[in-house]
C-alpha cells in the first residue's frame, strides 16, 4: 500500500510538470494550429538560465534562504524564455503563417535544433549539476516519502493552472485569445490585434515552460542541453492525450501520463512475472526455483507506456480525452 501511494506521489510530480509544459503546446496549437516543437527547448533554456543565476547568487555568499535563491533563478528564467518565445513567433513562424502547414512544422523542428546547439555553445556539453541548496526534507505519509521539492512542484503547478484558467476565461485578453482561436479573421474584423494575441500565447507558454524548466532542474538536480527533447515529446503526447487545443485537456493529459508512467513502471514487472501464473509458472518451475522470478516485461518499458496509452486513446477517442474544441470551430 505504501508502495502504491509512493508511486502515485511520483506520478503526480512528473505529471504536474508534463501538464505545465503541455499547456505551452496546446495554447499555441489552439490559436494557430501549429505544433511548436521548439517548446521543449524553451523549457531547457529556462532550466539553464536559472542554473546560471542560482549558481551566481548562491556563490555570492549572501545569507539568503534557499527558496529565495531558487526564486531568483525562476524570475530570471521567465523573461528570457518569454523573449525567446516571442522571437520564435516573430522571426520563425509569423513569416510562414500563410504557408502550407508543413513549412512551419519543419521550421519548428529546425528552431528546436538551433536552440539546442545555442545552449550547447553557451552552457557546454557537460551535464550541469543543479546546486543542491534546497534542503530536501522528506516527509513520510503513510509509509511514502514526499520531499519539499515535490510538494512545491505540485502546489505551484496547480496554482499556475488555476491562474491560466482564470486568465483565459475571466479577462478581456483571455476572451481575445479564445476569439482568435475560433477564427483569426473574424476576430481581426472585431478589432482584435491577431498578431498580438498569437505572440501572447507564445509568451505565456514560454513563461510556463521556464517555470517547468526550473522545476525539473531542482527536482532531478541536473540540467543538460538535450533535456528538452524527451520532456517536450512527453508533454506533447500529454497535450494530444487530453485533446490538443484544449487547456483542461492538457492538464488532465499531463497528470494521467505521469500516473500511467509511474504505475506502469512500478507494476508491469509484477503482473508479467510468469512464475505466479498457473500454467506457465509450472513450465518454468526450474527457473522460478533458481531465480525466484521470470519477468516478461520490465521497467525498460517505462517510456513505452506513455506512447502506448496515447495510441490506445487515439484509437478509441481520436480527439483526445476531453476532445479538441472542434465543436466551437464548426
Amino acid at each position: 500500500m505504501d508502495i502504491l501511494l509512493q508511486q502515485i506521489i511520483n506520478g503526480l510530480t512528473t505529471g504536474s510538470v508534463y501538464a505545465i509544459v503541455a499547456l505551452g503546446y496546446t495554447m499555441v496549437y489552439g490559436v494557430i494550429q501549429l505544433i511548436n516543437f521548439a517548446h521543449g527547448e524553451v523549457v531547457m533554456i529556462g532550466a539553464m538560465v536559472a542554473f546560471t543565476v542560482i549558481m551566481a547568487v548562491a556563490g555570492a555568499g549572501l545569507p539568503l534562504p534557499p527558496v529565495v535563491i531558487v526564486l531568483a533563478g525562476v524570475l530570471a528564467a521567465i523573461p528570457v524564455c518569454m523573449a525567446i518565445g516571442y522571437l520564435l513567433e516573430r522571426l520563425a513562424y509569423r513569416p510562414l503563417r500563410h504557408a502550407p502547414r508543413l513549412a512551419p512544422l519543419i521550421t519548428a523542428i529546425g528552431m528546436s535544433i538551433v536552440l539546442q546547439h545555442l545552449a550547447l555553445l553557451v552552457w557546454g556539453r557537460d551535464p550541469l549539476a543543479f546546486p543542491q541548496i534546497m534542503e530536501n526534507a522528506s516527509f513520510v505519509i503513510g509509509g511514502a516519502a514526499i520531499s519539499s521539492v515535490q510538494i512545491g512542484i505540485i502546489v505551484l503547478s496547480v496554482a499556475m493552472m488555476a491562474g491560466l484558467t482564470w486568465f483565459v476565461y475571466r479577462t478581456k485578453f483571455g476572451i481575445a485569445i479564445r476569439a482568435t482561436a475560433e477564427d483569426v479573421r473574424i476576430a481581426a474584423l472585431m478589432g482584435i490585434d491577431a498578431n498580438r494575441v498569437i505572440a501572447a500565447t507564445f509568451i505565456i507558454g514560454a513563461a510556463l515552460g521556464a517555470v517547468a524548466g526550473v522545476m525539473v532542474g531542482t527536482y532531478y538536480g541536473i540540467a543538460h542541453y538535450t533535456m528538452g527533447f524527451t520532456l517536450g515529446l512527453k508533454a506533447f503526447s500529454a497535450a494530444v492525450l487530453g485533446g490538443i487545443g484544449n487547456l483542461a485537456g492538457a492538464m488532465l493529459g499531463g497528470i494521467v501520463l505521469g500516473l500511467v508512467e509511474a504505475l506502469g513502471t512500478g507494476y508491469i514487472g509484477e503482473f508479467t512475472d510468469l512464475c505466479q501464473w498457473p500454467l506457465v509458472g509450472d513450465a518454468l518451475a526450474e527457473r522460478c526455483a533458481a531465480d525466484g522470478h521470470a519477468v516478461l516485461f520490465g521497467s525498460n518499458y517505462q517510456d513505452v507506456f506513455a506512447f502506448l496509452v496515447l495510441i490506445l486513446v487515439l484509437v478509441f477517442r481520436p480527439s483526445g480525452l476531453l476532445g479538441e474544441r472542434v465543436s466551437e470551430r464548426a
Binding site: 508502495i3 511520483n10 512528473t14 550547447l120 556539453r125 543542491q132 520531499s147 532531478y220 538536480g221 521497467s299
Partner: protein, 407 residues
Amino acid sequence: MNQSVKVLSLSVAAAVAMFGCGKKEEAPKPAAAPAAPAVTVVKIGHVGPLTGGIAHFGKDNENGVRLALDEINATNPKLGGTPVKFELVAEDDQADPKVGNTVAQKLVDAKVAGVVGHLNSGTSIPASAIYNGAGIPMISGASTNPAFTEQGFKGVFRVVGRDDQQGPAVANYLISTAKPKTAAVIDDATAYGEGLANEVEKSLKAAGVKVLPREKGTDKTVDWKAVLTKIKGKKPDVVFYGGMDATGGPLLKQARELKIGAAFAFGDGGCTDKMAELAGAAAEGLVCSQAGIPVQAAGKQFLDGYRAMFKMDPIIYSPFTYDAAKLLVAAMQKADSADPAKYLPALQAIDYNGATGNVKFDEKGDRKDAEMTIFTMKDSKITPLAIIKSGKSLTLDEYAALGTAGK
C-alpha cells in the same frame, strides 16, 4: 537533417581545401621550395560522443589523443626517412551505434592510419567490423564489454580491462564489505551497462546473493523514482547500477530521497567526481569501479601535459586514449611505416611503458594483466580504495611504489 548539414559542410570544406592546394602548386614560392622537405600527413582517427548526455567523457578521451599527438609532433617524427605529421581526425558518434557506423565509414574513407575509440561498447562493437573490413587497427581506451575483442578481428585492441574482470571485482568488493543477502541490479539498456550488470549479477548469484528481477532505464533516463520505489518495496541490501554518471547521479539522489538505505555501487561510467555534484550529499559512500588505474596514478608527464593544455583535470579514461594514440605511433615507428598492414604485427607484439603502465596485448587484443580499481566517494571526491593487479589488492601508495606508470 543534422547529418546532411554535416556532409554538406564537409564537402564544402573539402572543396576549399582542394582549391587551396591547387593554387599552391600553380604558384610555388621559389625561395621556400628547395629548403623544406615535404611533410607527409598521417591521419589518426578518434571517435567518441562529443554531443549528448555523456559528451564530457567523449571530450576527455579526445583530449588524451590530442595531447599525445601534439607531444609526438613536437619530436619531429620520421617514418621511412621522411618527416611526418600526425593529424587528429576527431569524430562524434553521439554514443549512438548507427551514427558510430557512419563516422567509422567516414574515417575509413578519409584513409586514417589507425583509430582510437570508440568510447561506448555499444558503438565500438559494430564499428569494429567496418575498421576490420578496411584493415585499419583500432584501440579503444574505454570500451569494456567482453564481446568487443571476442569477434576474432585481428586489428581490434583495448587498453582498459574487460567487464568480466570489472564485474567480479566490484561484486566481490560488495560481498566482502556489505555482506548482502538481497541485491537489486539496474542498467541503462546499453551494450555497456547491460553487459556489466550481467557480470555483476553473475558474481553476486555465484556467492549466494538473491538478485531481484533486473530493472532498466535508458541512457537518457533521469526519472528513476518509479523504478526505485519498486525496489524499495523489496528491501535490497545493495543496489548496483550499470550506466553513466549523467543518469546515475539522479538515480542516487532520488534513492536517498525515497529513503532507500542500501549500499550503492556503480561501474566505471558512474565513477567520476561529477557524481558528487549530481547527487549532492547522497553520493557519499558510493562504491564504484574503473577498468584501469585511477587517473591520479597516471604518469606525471601526462597529468602535467593535460592540465597545461586543457586547463582542467582529466576525467577518467584520457590516460588510456593517450596511451592508445602513442601505441599506434610506436608501432608505426617500429615498422617504419604508417601502412596498417605493415605496422599491425608490431602493434600486436608491442611492449610499451605508457602513462597507464606497461601495455602488452594478448592474442585477442585485450590488455594483458589489466588493473581494476575500486573507489569510494569521500568528501565529494572519488577516492581509490584498492587497485587490483594480478589478483592482488594494492593501495594507491603501494601501486605508486611499483613505479610501473612512471612514464
